[in-house]
Symmetry: C2
Subunit: 845 residues, 2 copies
């Protein structure tokens, strides 16, 4: 079969993306629309694969397709140009005979330069020689010297036969596609494991380079901004377009000319290129960059490429194509890679900025921020009070540090992974965050940070956190602002129209909630109430409660939290303007509220007026071996029911207060860490009782929904008997993943990278939902939940909620919505829309 | 329908255990074999239930069944006599008329005594009066005075009509069956929630009590020992058997007589009773205690009861019944309650010993031991060296304390529950253990234990731990030795013949292994190798390994462990004599091997000759938030492969060494904490490589089996792809339960009792396998494992392995064997046999 797919590229040759690659297909499309394209030949994926096995099919056929005098160029043509490929190789066919011929035609210097550059490229690509042949240019007997050098190092004389040259070049390009580094690079860009390569062989356009000659590329758009603006490059007066890309030095000697200059110098060529570029955009439905050659006044199009945009550019270009009627709005939605939005929503270190990097950590929350180093939450707050940006540096963060994180502009920790406390809170706050920066020496007590090179950083020293790359930088590099322009808004509107699964945000604070609304979240899918209790004076009250001697005293203390908690919910409800707000009842173990340090314990002893020994005794008693699996969540709700009762009352009173002057609020109350039906029954009874009491007291009615956070494997397995009692189930995939794997996300950082590198886990299951294990529990949970209650509302609210793969999974499994951190909401909306559109299109076919 | 089941008890009346209770059925059986039984009437369960509703069906019919002059006695008849019931009530029918009649017949004093005692019982049971009518006996106008007192307190005159009397008595007995305390008592003995009561009404045998009169009970067997030995009681010369049970004072006045005396005094009656007792044993296929009445030379059998045995007695009696051909060996196996064996295998506090109890904790490992208090492992070892029994007292135990536990005679801890470290190790060692003794004040640093009453106990003070009841006793009460006599061995042989599921033991040490063999375990199902590393000098080597700077150095250090580890396995294999030994590879997190105290850290710094700060830094770095879910098990095997390689080599070299001089050993190697197939692949590759290397080095071949410990939910869900790689799957239900519930067993103690009391969990899932949640994962694991490999060996090796319900579950699910701590092996064998026999019998019907 090999070879039957290899064709000269003509308007009616059988050439497809899937068999010949994007470049071959693009050239064919341009040929169809009568673009002046030099003769080109497409080698299919299967032919190129054969080449790696050492056979050389079709080479005769290729050679025969071109004139005997031609020089050839070979370009890679993979299915997606973003996946990269071997470098283009020019000048194939050059030999002693042709050199003499070209010397007659264009002059000896140019002929020899052409020859030497081919020898250079061939020796490097085919013979893997690291020798500089270019330096011979201009020497006496340049070719002779080069030939001798080549023979000495390669052990053979330079091949004169175009067949041997082409065979060598094609095979070397085929082989380079199969190297490990090439595979890793393209897989990083989303290529599948078995991605293949096609090759395009094209005749070179050659001239003397004297009259209206030159080469360059031409595009109608600015790839940085996505605005329509000619951003082309043109090298005038040279015959050789090789230098444009391959040799930076030569390019700078030739000098750049503004397109306006080209317009002045070669006005007809310029006008012709404008027409062609506009035609290419319209016909190929893409922003296309044309590589062209101007040869004695005639314009040749050598190649077309997709313009490679910045995130902002990509969004604007896609929206503009749709607004111009070239593509549909669905197409525009499909064009933008969701992950790009991550960069769009945050400030970045400018790409041309100098970087003085002192550490590579794990970029756990994207965006960049510059500020002065602080080592404690108190310092961060003081800094914020002075309006001075600061970076909070901790070995790891705990709930105690949340206040500091709110005050800081970025966070840097020594320990933890992508789902550590710092990372999760950081993403929630849209705060740039680097974790696992273990190559730095964190001396928190001494308030010093020591780099591997010995440099010492102290409080007040300025550093920059690049949370997108994980780099910790010294000083203040240039930052580029986030820009959510009209195109972005338009794209998100189109995405909202297209998608068929809801997107909510995980939001704990008013600030989170406002971000969520700005990003068009349809509600709050997870409001973790515990963060509300870590601020003084609430923290003090919580501690007093823990030390309460009797249940009565405990109730009294908790009641002091009621007005504060009610106010929290009033604010959230107001911001969310009638959108659903799902409030998770108190979840963490109580010991998180006790001070860990002796000084903290002494302070508490003073505050409570009891001996410090008593405080220490309580702290010791309440310590847990595995807090993750301890007395928390609904277990607290069952054993210390006063907390949930206070929270339910706060929610209901806030509901009535806000419903008074706007859309009625229907709050959703979620019970965490359930593992048995009876837990839900007990909490439900109490919540219902509080609801009745509040309605009676205020003489007004309200509705609410009760639900369960499914985060233990047992809750998923027993979803049928649990669903029966509630209105919704929300799957907490963080904890569910931890328990299904028996793996604490806080401790996994230590070996996860090793594990992923060795392929033990295909992916970190805290980043990418484990469809096989955790996924099966989700499917069982959904099926069983729906069995008991067909109209039950289903969602996921773990960190996976914003991830494309998880959203695909949730759509397939029939979830009603996903919930993710506010800054991931646009990404989730876009992913969801793409999934819906893809499915619709598949179903059409 | 009510009433149609109520009959006079005759040989052909329709009377069944399930409708009339054990006593009614027993009386009918005796009547069938012509025992001299006074006329009796059986009221069915449903009739008694009606009585509680206030209706009095059937009472006329009962009254009419007896002669007008008769006095009646009512006895409870529940389905199982062990479930208890209301006290027997005698003398019904007594009134003024009959009193006069009996005065004529037996003399006034006896008649009045009879009457007064009836009034006493009636007033107490029916009218709930707390008045002493007995004191009137012998007074002038005794009856008159009693009648007046009764009327004053009850508000009515004493009922004279036998109908009213009987109706009152029956209803009061029916009601007392329904009280909460009665229900709790019988449920503790295994009665179902809806257990019902029948009643037997019988005519009393009355005489003057002058010639050859008396009453008593007669049994052929000693209930303490189970040996055949007449142990009967006989009160001679009184007409009234009421006093035997109801009134201890009177009994002691009458005095006990040895049966030999009875033989001398009333030889015919004695001989008649011997015949009847032997007949009852043979016909009822039980050891029966006959209640009899001797009335002017004639013997009446009033009642038959099952003899209530001690555990030892129960075993011996059942075996003897089978050996005498009265029941089958299967019957004998079915007769012994497996839980009884728990007591049989350990020393106990003698039942009549004085108990000075200072605390009620959780009895976590059965048996009793007396010893001097020690507060550290070092003290325990010193004590053991002096051959002085000691009790190790700790707030909680850690792997560091295992040495101390080996040296101690019992363990007492402040914290923890039934599956805490102390409890699990205690049961494994057969060491009496009380955990959660939180009412004592544990002052470990001061080396004091303070009781709630203020008594202070110091090092060297003698206490006794009753691990069966959870009582901590002061001083040295009498202890009863464990006794594993021939009967026990015979019973276990019969159980082994009957059962169809294997039983192995969890055994980590030679001592464990010997216990396992003594108890007829069929192999070791779980050998945890980590305990082997907590003893010096190995602990030191482990620590050196943790501080090794390079992989090479680490390998060198680990290699020093090889000979020691090999010797461990040589010993185990020798003891187990060719029985399978399943060795779990190293499981715990490495930080468990580092010292927690500053002094320990300083010591280690000295030993390694590094600054103590470095030690502290390492300890801090390696600390984990949730060690349960951290870097342990196969995760260590993958990231620090040298440990598993050393262990595999030790196992294989030991295999060859032991196989040289006895049955070839086929070791089983088990990989812990697996959650992904690739983990198994990686370990399998390395283990296979070590196996090949050892075979090559020694020029001899051996076989081994590789398996996976399924203890994460994911491993159960993915059992199909995992099973494909291995020979066996062993389900670790401890960890699987922890992860399925998201519940750490070490932390659950704090609220588990609350949870079980509130019915949130029907049972502590660490004690009783959760069939719904964890059970579903087991079923999925089994099904999927078998799909991939039909011949795969399946087992469970968690603490549940020894539990009847779990064994039933495992049999149904098709497991090959269960594994449990050595001291539970007999219990497991017996349970398994009973399940098999029950099923065979069900299938027959």
């Amino acid at each position: 079969m090999t070879g039957s797919q290899d064709h000269l590229i003509t308007a009616d040759a059988k050439i497809k993306h899937e068999t010949h690659g994007w470049r071959a297909k693009c050239l064919q499309d341009l040929i169809k629309f009568d673009f002046p394209i030099p003769k080109a030949f497409a080698l299919s994926f299967s032919t190129v694969e054969k080449l790696t096995e050492g056979t050389s099919p079709q080479i005769e056929k290729v050679i025969d397709s071109f004139s005997e005098d031609a020089l050839l160029v070979v370009r890679p043509s993979s299915q997606n140009p973003a996946w990269g490929g071997p470098s283009t190789i020019l000048g194939i066919g050059m030999n002693d005979t042709k050199c003499r011929m070209f010397a007659r035609k264009f002059g000896r210097q140019m002929a020899e330069a052409l020859y030497l550059r081919f020898i250079q490229v061939f020796a490097s690509a085919v013979d893997k020689l690291d020798i500089d042949f270019i330096e011979f240019i201009g020497h006496t007997d340049a070719i002779k010297k080069a030939m001798k050098t080549y023979a000495t190092h390669s052990g053979r004389s330079f091949p004169q036969n175009p067949f041997d040259q082409l065979a060598g070049v094609l095979q070397s390009m085929a082989l380079s596609w199969d190297t490990v580094s090439a595979r890793i690079l393209r897989e990083a860009k989303g290529a599948p494991f078995d991605a293949q390569l096609g090759l395009v062989v094209q005749e070179m356009v050659l001239d003397k380079g004297t009259t209206e000659c030159g080469s360059g590329f031409f595009r109608l758009i600015n790839p940085e901004t996505g605005l329509h603006q000619l951003t082309s490059q043109f090298v005038y007066g040279t015959s050789d377009n090789d230098f444009l890309k391959a040799n930076g030095k030569t390019l700078s000697i030739a000098g750049d000319m503004q397109t306006s200059s080209m317009k002045d110098t070669v006005p007809q060529a310029y006008a012709r290129l404008q027409v062609l570029a506009a035609l290419a955009r319209e016909k190929l439905c893409e922003e296309i960059q044309l590589e062209f050659k101007l040869c004695e006044g005639a314009v040749y199009i050598l190649d077309g490429e997709k313009v490679s945009f910045t995130p902002q550019g990509a969004v604007r270009a896609a929206v503009r194509l749709a607004q111009d009627g070239i593509i549909s709005s669905d197409d525009a939605v499909m064009r933008v890679e969701p992950a790009l939005l991550n960069k769009l929503l945050h400030r970045q270190v400018a790409s041309d900025s100098q970087r003085d990097i002192i550490c590579y950590g794990i970029g756990a929350s994207p965006g960049a921020a510059t500020g002065r180093i602080v080592f404690t939450s108190a310092q961060a707050q003081a800094s914020a009070a002075r309006d001075e940006p600061c970076i909070l540096v901790r070995r790891e963060t705990t709930p105690d540090d949340v206040r500091g994180m709110h005050a800081a502009d970025a966070v840097l920790t020594e320990r933890g992974g992508l789902t550590s406390h710092a990372a999760v809170i950081g993403r929630g706050l849209g705060l740039p965050c680097i974790v696992g920066a273990s190559s730095l020496d964190f001396r928190i007590p001494e308030e010093q940070l020591i780099a591997e090179d010995g440099r010492v950083f102290k409080v007040g020293d300025v550093i920059t956190i690049d949370g997108s790359t994980g780099q910790v930088l010294v000083g203040e590099p240039d930052l580029v602002e986030a820009s959510l322009d009209d195109s972005f808004q338009t794209l998100m509107e189109w995405a909202d129209e297209a998608r068929d699964i809801g997107v909510r945000a995980n939001a704990d604070t008013s600030e989170d909630a406002r971000t969520a609304r700005n990003f068009r979240a349809q509600g709050i899918g997870l409001c973790r109430t515990e963060h509300m209790f870590f601020e003084t004076p609430r923290l003090t009250v919580m501690r007093e409660m823990i030390f309460a001697e009797t249940a009565k005293r405990r109730t009294e203390v908790i009641e002091r939290l009621l007005p504060m908690q009610r106010n929290d919910f009033v604010q959230l409800f107001r911001i969310m303007e009638g959108c659903p707000v799902c409030i998770r009842l108190f979840d963490p173990p109580l010991h998180e509220f006790l001070p860990g340090s002796l000084s903290g314990q002494q302070e508490l002893a003073h505050a409570l007026d009891i001996p410090v020994q008593e405080v220490i005794k309580r702290v010791t008693e309440m310590a847990e071996y595995n807090p993750m699996l301890g007395l928390r969540g609904v277990r607290l709700g069952v054993t210390v029911p006063e907390i949930y009762e206070m929270q339910a009352r706060a929610i209901f009173e806030a509901t009535l207060e806000v419903s008074k002057d706007s859309t009625p609020v229907i709050p959703e109350i979620m019970i965490p860490l359930v593992s048995a039906r009876r837990e839900v029954e007990l909490v439900k009874e109490r919540v219902n009782a509080v609801s009745k009491a509040v309605q009676l007291e205020q003489g007004r009615i309200f509705d609410f929904r009760l639900g369960v956070m499914v985060e233990t494997p047992r809750a998923a397995l027993r979803a049928e008997e649990i669903a029966d009692l509630v209105d919704f189930l929300s799957f907490g995939t963080n904890d569910l993943t931890q328990m299904t794997y028996g793996l604490s996300r806080d401790d996994a950082g230590r070996f996860m990278s090793d594990y992923v590198r060795k392929g033990v886990f295909a992916e970190d299951p805290f980043c990418m939902l484990d469809k096989d294990g955790v996924g099966e529990l989700l499917r069982l949970g959904v099926e069983r939940g729906r069995n008991a209650r067909p109209d039950i509302i289903l969602s996921i609210c773990g960190e996976h909620g914003g991830n494309t793969e998880s959203i695909a999974f949730c759509r397939d499994a029939g979830f009603d919505y996903v919930s993710c951190s506010p800054f991931r909401v646009p990404l989730a909306c876009l992913s969801a829309a793409q999934l819906t559109i893809s499915q619709k299109r598949r179903e059409k076919h």
